[in-house]
Symmetry: C2
């Protein structure tokens, strides 16, 4: 993503932006025409954020969010980076009647927002699954999940046991927010018949998910986590404002980051 | 998949099989414990079907279908190989009110079954998209789609234009049945807002689908094509029996195969 100030708005633009708005683009930079004019002279090569002079072009079918005045820029950007996850989680959870929800990687950025979104959308019970005790403590303190469970998401039987142990049954909705390969089969096993798995991890293997569910005779709906849902940026930002537990996890993460 | 005769059924088995049944397993052989006792001595190395003596073990969470008496074995196996596609297509189409449906690769095995399933599930209009004129002729003769369109599914703009041209609008449901990489963006572009893309192709890239939809600001639901839906084998077999167009395409394909 890219942060900058709007220079000019095309007459037919549907993005709702005005010249002078400070915005973040919510699409991959690989899809954004960008001319850099300062040779990245202000970058020391040591940060993952790169200061740059130049200009970019956003398309009619593009997404950009105006940065809010009431949140520090780093915090807003961290939220915008993952804002598709809570919006889609909310939609899926609302499609069931008070479902049980498991969020794998519940203490992370997309995970904590998804837990908050699931609760708001009417989840009967939620569990956040994390890989290490330190994250379990953080998530418990944040108070975002009804239960917190420890499991290696790459171990299908252990993951399914952790989710069932915490919820008393498999999850109606399982949300995968951990960026490690090999979590597909565990997510499928942890999910109830006619349940839904939402894969937000870019480490997801399409064929592992498809063949795994088939091989387990699991009648589950599996969604490719689309990063775009209308209103996703505002929704995520509001969750952060309303839920001190989410904000605390994000702020801790920003402090720890180099 | 594996074809064989049931030796013995465990007392707790829920697979509904009896000793003596001739069955096909509907899961990947990579998930099936199999002991081969004849060293594959009867295989000349030139066919993709391998005759073998031995025994296999099926699990409680496994899938096997009894081969029907009224269909040639090769034909039944060809249907069983792709039987998840029509069943899931049917479920997705039935979730909309008389939707428009595009099947990319409509003249293939899973594609022709999916077209037949979409029509039966209440599609208002269907289009089968194929890459070459010969397949267009075959599909038109089969009478399985309201419209037949020619397009290279790897060209997003061309694919979207072909679908819109045939249906008069983007598809509410797009079913991807072509096994070539690079069809994700075209499928997303060809699909209406709040529509659904079902990816059955194992060449689907998870990240291309997720980042592509996000980059296009496309509010579409994207499904990993789960090969298992309860009743899928019987459903596909019945479509073949009822639709001479489907059966014709399958038989032609079996004749052409080496």
């Amino acid at each position: 993503m890219l942060v900058g100030v709007v220079d000019e708005v095309g007459p037919d633009s549907r993005l709702g932006l005005r010249a002078g708005d400070r915005v973040a683009t919510l699409v991959s930079l690989s899809l954004t025409p960008l001319e850099i004019t300062d040779g990245l002279g202000r970058w020391d090569g040591r940060s993952e954020q790169v200061p740059a002079e130049g200009h970019a072009i956003l398309f009619g079918r593009s997404i950009a969010a105006v940065l809010p005045d009431d949140l520090p820029r780093e915090l807003a950007m961290a939220v915008l980076d993952v804002c598709g996850a809570p919006a889609l989680t909310s939609r899926v959870v609302a499609g069931y009647e008070h479902p049980t929800v498991a969020v794998i990687g519940g203490a992370g950025k997309s995970g904590s927002l998804s837990l908050a979104a699931a609760r708001r959308a009417g989840a009967r019970a939620t569990v956040g699954v994390v890989p290490v005790a330190a994250e379990a403590d953080l998530l418990r303190e944040a108070g975002l999940a009804d239960e917190v469970a420890l499991a290696d998401a790459r171990d299908p039987v252990a993951l399914a046991a952790a989710v069932e142990g915490a919820l008393g049954q498999p999850a109606d909705v399982t949300v995968v927010c951990v960026d490690v390969p090999g979590c597909e089969h565990g997510a499928v096993l942890a999910t109830a018949e006619r349940g839904t798995v939402v894969f937000f991890s870019m480490a997801t293997s399409f064929s592992a998910a498809a063949l795994g569910a088939e091989g387990l005779a699991a009648d589950v709906t599996m969604l490719v986590g689309n990063g775009y849902v209308p209103g996703h940026a505002d929704f995520a930002m509001q969750l952060l404002r309303d839920q001190s537990g989410v904000r605390g996890l994000f702020e801790q993460r920003l402090e720890v980051a180099p």
